[in-house]
């Protein structure tokens, strides 16, 4: 079945019927609608918590080659399938590593995913560690505002502002963040019921939306200025919803395999939805927060060679990513190493962070590979997108925010992948300023403290 010029509302907001989830994503996607003459620019943010071990992450500056891959990045030479995740060929030509980005001074707390895409220091004396400016992804989305301005998708089940929201519209205002991939998929791509009855229901819902917009206008006549602003927000959200419902999905009927079972399943589902939404021109900016700082663990995965270590654990066991990131000595640590001789424990703990870091890189590689394999009328998503890997900390053990793990992929705005850039401790603001300039911002400085855009991005 081909859906063309078919408003989503006709497929209904509220279909209870399940979605057929069978065809592999990439086979199913064949965008029909030609992009604009000028190549669309897109941004895909990817957050994975707890940093890495920078010493085992950062490769030597220069061209990124199979030989120069660091222990944490070694899987960019290709990796096998595991669980829900497919295998991937070598991708080091497709990813640029930025060493030494400094994310210090921005946030109050030790783990603050809400600040990961921020370059503005938190407001002084604010009660909570909430941003004062739009996050990088939203800033780009705001410039290229379309029917779906952006998709903020978070697998975090934590609704605390610091842990459950990575995308921010502005001061103290988290972006509309999706947490249920199945519901989101249904909303964006739900199976069409093109029957007169279903169409009538959809038509009526559209009329109700019109009616309540008029309710807003009438309500506002009774209100003071500040209250009117809140009703305006409601009104604008109704309009955004209508735009979403009327936007044309330029895709064949699509299906996705996905569940919301755990952080991994949800995040893969979200990545797939983000890719699909871009391919179908429903959005050009998407961000996936893989987990909050404490949530994700590796139960069900075998990281490493599958051989038991001296503590009797295979890979990283069922310990949370946060525990593994803390290696030894922290209260939050994998305590199975406590009884081992110090040197042995250190070796295993270091290796475990390499194992989890490799996993994190493989997940970003999956995203990059999907961008690469998704064709558009003007090429493929990879050529039109900048994808950014980020975290809330640089060194997961010490919480240091120097040497943030930073990967950039895609060729949007002429970006050149396959390199290792040494930022020499440049601030996140310098990185973000440079990325924004790839999206035609023409900034000379950005962020707080303000920094000049990082050269070479």
């Amino acid at each position: 079945m081909i859906i063309t010029k078919q408003p989503l509302s006709r497929r209904t907001l509220l279909q209870g019927a399940g979605v057929a989830l069978s065809l592999p994503l990439l086979e199913a996607m064949m965008p029909l609608k030609a992009s604009a003459a000028t190549r669309t620019k897109r941004f895909f943010g990817f957050f994975y918590p707890n940093g890495t071990d920078p010493g085992r992450w950062q490769p030597a500056t220069g061209k990124l080659t199979a030989q120069s891959l660091s222990p944490c990045l070694q899987d960019l030479a290709g990796f096998k399938a595991e669980g829900i995740w497919p295998s991937c060929e070598a991708l080091y030509n497709y990813i640029t590593v930025v060493n030494g980005i400094n994310h210090e001074g921005l946030n109050t707390d030790i783990h603050t995913p809400s600040m990961a895409l921020q370059a503005y220091t938190r407001e002084a004396n604010a009660d909570a560690s909430t941003p004062v400016a739009p996050s990088l992804d939203v800033k780009i989305a705001q410039k290229f505002k379309g029917a779906y301005p952006y998709l903020a998708m978070s697998s975090s089940t934590d609704t605390a502002l610091t842990q459950g929201y990575i995308s921010w519209e502005g001061k103290g205002r988290p972006a509309d963040t999706q947490r249920d991939p199945a519901a989101l998929f249904k909303k964006l791509f739900g199976a069409q019921q093109n029957t007169p009855a279903a169409n009538a229901i959809s038509q009526r819902q559209a009329s109700v939306l019109d009616f309540i917009q008029e309710d807003c206008n009438r309500l506002k006549t009774k209100l003071g200025q500040a209250d009117k602003q809140r009703v305006d927000e409601f009104f604008n959200s109704v309009r955004t919803l209508e735009e979403q419902l009327n936007s044309v999905a330029a895709c064949q009927a699509v299906t996705l395999n996905g569940t919301g079972r755990d952080f991994h399943d949800k995040s893969k589902f979200f990545i797939d939805i983000g890719i699909l939404a871009m391919a179908c021109d429903l959005t050009n900016v998407a961000t996936v927060q893989y987990s909050n700082s404490w949530g994700v663990n590796y139960a069900g995965y075998v990281l490493g060679d599958g051989v038991k270590d001296e503590a009797g654990t295979i890979g990283v066991g069922n310990f949370s990513d946060h525990f593994i990131s803390h290696k030894l000595d922290d209260t939050d640590r994998a305590k199975d190493l406590d009884a081992l001789p110090r040197a042995t424990a250190v070796r295993i703990a270091d290796n475990r962070v390499v194992l989890t870091s490799r996993f994190k890189v493989r997940r970003f590689a999956y995203l990059v590979d999907a961008l690469r394999k998704t064709t558009t009328p003007t090429g493929n998503l990879y050529d039109e997108t900048l994808a950014l890997y980020c975290s809330e900390n640089g060194n997961g053990d010490s919480h240091s925010r120097r040497d943030m793990p930073t990967l950039i992929a895609g060729r949007a705005g002429g970006f050149e992948p396959g390199r290792v850039i040494n930022s020499n401790g440049a601030r996140t603001a310098a990185l973000h300023g440079a990325i924004l300039n790839r999206f035609d911002f023409n900034l000379t400085t950005y962020g707080d403290p303000a920094a000049a855009p990082l050269a070479g991005i």
Binding site: D127, T159, R179, R204, D215, Q229, F323, H399, G425, A450
Partner: protein
């Protein structure tokens, strides 16, 4: 009472300088002030009520409270603490109940003449208006309590609130008479602040909210139309009968919009639904869709007699506010009728109505939500590795244990503070096994904890729902912080950048060594000494809330305790529970939290009367929870609403931190011709814009013009050389303090960055003593940036 303690922590960072350099400098002033302090802030301040309020309200000191607050935080909080709690190590007296605190004139004069004391760190003068403002702030914020309440004082502004997801669910359940709460998962969950999901100003309305409302409304409307019995009750007539729609719209609309509909509204909706469909059933579905997605339903409209500024709520709005406060949902038809008949017009009437409302099961449900958010028992997640005796429904049983006990105390009007020492509990048989407690003889019946059990006489403190680690993190610090924040409303916040400043400080330390160090190092001890002793009390209970006899408090390098209760003796969780239950601050904190929950914002200055009255009511009632709750809704401020000021268009945030050195004059110990010191501050990073000098050591001094607050220094060496240097700062250009020590630096690069705690200085001196890797004797930098607060 959620307060930002940032300046306090800066004080803790500067402790060495503050108390070390001039140990006796401020002691003379402090001894005269602190001698009359009582150990209990509550009792001390109560006694000073009348005098403080009369002096401020009669205008003896014409200070401005808001300005005073700002000035206090800027100039005084560093040493005296954000809440005026004082700091003995800094010789900074407590400002609660102090000898001059109840006399505004004397206090103002004292501040003007004596503050800041000689030798204080980062002293900032405060005379004239500042002294008057600050003294008013100290009086009213720290020393004014019930008697200072003036019912004409306006409450603080409240954001135009939308229904939270829970309120939406509760309201729909009631409106449609559903046997249980509807599925509202299509609506995004509400962001939480301090784990409360009722904070209006973070609740935005986004497209996914609208589509969620529409989804729930449509599903519920269809379900209702298919359930004949319920349908006829809700609609009030057989829907196909002539005139049914016309009678339904105003009747149901009044419940949904929590006010009578205007005739024009009724007609507009009627004509809309009949215009959309000829099918009667569809017309009703449409009407329900409108009612349950309209801004008139989603927003709690409170305009009273004045849409801007302060207004007195009308009867319906008051009924509505009461219903949301006590029930977490909109009012019933009965309550609207009562309001319309004037039943809420005076405080006696409202008290009676509210008392009746508390007997309703809706009140119990609403307070259970409060308890779960207050104690954060709603955050428990199953661990990956299941402990022994774990079972599928254990989390619900843990939550039920705490909720049941609290409910018993609330609704049987027991002394609520005894929930901390209660020795009976409500466990299922399986949860009893998990704990190792005797099973209840009859399901649902209370179990008495044996006196030998580690949980004996610890009430809710010993409940797994509270002991359970709700997130990763240092359990010692987390539990100590949780207890202080939950029961005493004492919040600790890490100052901006502190995590970066302590970066790597504890590398290679064992967990116990870290605990030792953070309770010794002045920059950490100030906070950790307040929370770690409390956390230690809980240490024998593991992450999953089970008692672990192998964890011994004696193995830790610190002592257990409750530092917030001076003179207390705490060796175990029983002692902690007993001491805590005697702290009157709990009532104050509970009032604070309940205000936040029922009024949807953090209590601010204009709200403290209401909060204080409620906590007084709590105390005089023998610590009855419902007395506290009723006092909050009976307060005069409950009848008023202040609309907030409109938000201005949000410009790009101005940098709050800038390069203060830019274009400032530089003095160099020497300079190569053509490469003068001034090149360091010309904002030009090019190699041909640099300062150069030959032979070590050399130094440059940048004059920032005025004393500024500095947070970071960036040095840009020529040719990325790894120079060894130190940075010193000074307020007067004479006495310098070392801020950055890179005297053993080996790091090369385009720039080297050092962050530090905010430091006040005017002069910044860079002293270069050598280099790594570079063997020449030239010293050359392209730029020095001194980042600090924008002027």
């Amino acid at each position: 009472m959620i307060k930002n303690l940032l300046p306090v922590f800066i004080a803790c960072l500067l402790l060495t300088a503050c108390s070390g350099e001039n140990p006796g400098a401020s002691s003379s002033s402090s001894s005269s002030n602190s001698s009359s302090n009582s150990s209990s802030s509550t009792s001390a301040s109560s006694s000073s009520n009348s005098s403080s309020s009369s002096s401020s309200s009669s205008g003896q000191v014409a200070g401005n409270f808001q300005l005073g607050k700002t000035q206090f935080q800027d100039k005084c909080a560093l040493c005296h603490g954000e809440s005026g709690e004082g700091n003995t190590q800094l010789n900074a007296p407590k400002l609660i109940g102090c000898s001059v605190c109840d006399n505004a004139t004397a206090l103002s004069k004292y501040i003007a003449q004596n503050m800041p004391p000689v030798g204080a760190t980062a002293p900032k003068a405060c005379a004239g208006d500042c002294a008057a403002n600050v003294s008013r702030y100290i009086q009213e914020a720290f020393n004014a309590r019930t008697a200072a309440c003036d019912d004409s004082l306006s409450p603080s502004p409240s954001t135009f609130k939308r229904l939270s997801r829970i309120e939406y669910s509760n309201s729909i359940k009631d409106l449609l008479q559903l046997p249980q709460a509807p599925n509202v998962s299509a609506i995004p969950n509400d962001p939480s602040v301090y784990n409360f999901q009722t904070i209006a100003n973070v609740q935005s309305v986004q497209a996914s909210h609208i589509s969620g409302y529409m989804a729930v409304a449509t599903e519920q409307a269809e379900a209702l139309m298919n359930a004949a019995d319920r349908r006829d009750k809700i609609i009030g007539c057989e829907y196909s009968r002539t005139g049914c729609l016309e009678s339904f719209i105003p009747r149901f609309g009044r419940l949904a919009y929590r006010r009578p509909l205007e005739a024009a509204e009724v007609e507009r909706l009627r004509s809309f639904v009949t215009g959309q469909s000829n099918a009667l059933r569809d017309q009703f579905v449409l009407a329900f869709q409108v009612f349950l997605t309209s801004p008139n339903f989603i927003f709690r409209v409170e305009v009273g007699n004045n849409p801007a500024g302060i207004s007195k709520l009308n009867d319906y709005e008051l009924a509505s506010r009461l219903a949301f406060a006590l029930w977490g949902q909109g009012p019933t038809g009965d309550l609207l009728d009562k309001a319309a008949s004037g039943a809420l017009a005076n405080v006696e009437g409202l008290r009676k109505v509210a008392g009746d409302m508390l007997k309703d099961p809706r009140a119990k449900d609403n307070m259970t939500h409060f308890f779960e958010q207050w104690l954060a028992t709603n955050l428990i997640n199953a661990p990956v590795e299941k402990p022994q005796n774990w079972y599928n429904t254990i989390i619900a049983d843990m939550q039920a244990e705490t909720n049941t006990l609290l409910s018993e105390y609330v609704w049987q009007n027991k002394n609520f503070l005894n929930v901390l020492t209660e020795n009976t509990t409500y466990v299922s048989a399986s949860l009893a096994d998990y704990y190792g407690l005797p099973r209840p003889s009859v399901a649902g019946q209370a179990v008495t904890v044996p006196s030998s059990d580690p949980r004996a006489h610890t009430g809710i403190l010993g409940h797994a729902a509270n002991l359970f680690a709700k997130s990763d993190g240092d359990l010692l610090a987390k539990r100590g912080n949780w207890l202080r924040s939950t029961f005493l409303c004492k919040e600790l916040h890490l100052p901006n950048g502190i995590a970066d400043i302590i970066n790597g400080k504890f590398a290679g330390f064992t967990a116990l060594e870290i605990i030792t160090e953070r309770n010794r190092d002045p920059s950490c001890e100030r906070c950790h000494s307040q929370i770690d002793p409390i956390g230690l009390v809980f240490a024998p209970f593991d992450r999953s809330g089970r008692f672990d006899a192998s964890i011994r408090m004696a193995d830790y390098p610190i002592q257990p305790g409750l530092p917030d209760r001076p003179g207390s003796s705490v060796a175990n969780i029983q002692d902690l529970a007993r001491e805590l239950a005697q702290m009157p601050e709990i009532g104050q904190c509970l009032a604070d939290r309940l205000f936040l929950y029922t009024r949807n914002h953090v209590p601010e200055q204009g709200d403290h009367c209401a909060v204080n009255k409620a906590s007084d009511n709590f105390r005089t009632s023998g610590n009855q929870f419902t007395a506290l709750l009723l006092a909050l809704v009976e307060d005069a401020s409950f009848r008023n609403r202040v609309a907030p000021l409109p938000q201005s268009n949000e410009p790009e945030p101005e940098p709050t931190v800038v390069n203060l050195a830019q274009n400032r004059p530089v003095t160099a110990s020497s300079a190569q011709e053509g490469n003068p010191g001034s090149r360091l501050t010309d904002n030009n990073l090019n190699v041909d814009s640099r300062w150069s000098a030959q032979t070590y050591p050399q130094q440059v001094t940048i004059d920032l013009g005025l004393v500024r607050s500095l947070v970071q220094i960036e040095a840009y060496p020529y040719e990325d050389r790894a120079y060894k240097y130190t940075v010193e700062v000074s307020r007067d250009g004479l006495s310098f303090t070392r801020l950055v020590d890179r005297s053993k630096n080996t790091q090369a690069g385009a720039s080297l960055t050092d962050l530090f705690a905010p430091t006040e200085a005017r002069y910044v001196r860079l002293i270069v003593t050598g280099a790594s890797g570079y063997t020449g004797d030239w010293i050359s930098f392209r730029e020095i940036k001194v980042l600090g607060s924008a002027p």
